[in-house]
Symmetry: C2
Subunit: 144 residues, 2 copies
Amino acid sequence: MEHTIDSRWVDDQIGYLLRRASANMAADYAAHPDEGPPLRPVQVSMLALIAANPGVAQGELGTTLGIQRTNIAPLVAQLVEAALVERRPSPTDGRRVELHLTADGERAWRVGRDRIERHEARATAPLGDADRARLRSLLRRLIP
Amino acid sequence: MEHTIDSRWVDDQIGYLLRRASANMAADYAAHPDEGPPLRPVQVSMLALIAANPGVAQGELGTTLGIQRTNIAPLVAQLVEAALVERRPSPTDGRRVELHLTADGERAWRVGRDRIERHEARATAPLGDADRARLRSLLRRLIP
DNA sequence: TATTGTTATACTCTATAACTATA
DNA sequence: TATAGTTATAGAGTATAACAATA
């Protein structure tokens, strides 16, 4: 945040700061590919939700993560193709497809979680635990 | 942030919360196109930097905003084509191109600034001024 | 050799529209 | 008529590589 030019106005805009901080987190994750499976953060989040909610439907994944049905479809397809997730037709609603982790998916979820948690600790190292909690709390209030 | 499924792990990840909050801000801006010129937030930031630093070079814009030279070139070209920004060759360094606002650019900057500031107030309405300041301070510590 | 800027290109993210199948 | 899911497509955002002109 140290520049040779006057950037006072932009440095006060929360939307700008969110974009910069978010991009910085994404860059840190991508810079350490050796620490876990070749999954993007959103896919680890999907494994987390399926692990905690076996049989969850695709649409519920999307709603929870703020991703449209149309965009989550190929992400699920990729996890199915990698044999980390299984689709099972709902016995009570022929439209729903229920998602479950495979044994490989359970392993990928645990390794992916460890990678994310190391990444979070590293990328937010300038904050202590107390400030991490304050930041989480403030950010949650900006998400409807 | 209220879901019917268990999303406790993902809701604790700062990278995830940053992505959601940032996307929410961008959606609010895009949802109110009538409030200012047809510029994206990053272009208003560029006008802000040129207004505060007349003669700034393209590369300095990029460095300040965290955008690569290769990606800021077309953004500048678009502002030049819209006659909001003028390029002037540096008298002392033939490689540099110095950027200045035109009279239209000055007007677009003021209107764009007002639009951004209304958008910021609206999208961060759940926070009071004190929490806005706390959030800015925490986010700045995540940007190198 | 290094720096400023440009073009081409590719991949990801997000959004809309149109479609099928089921309720 | 509404909902769950899919496919096609288009627009931004961001990344690398290769290039020209100047220092």
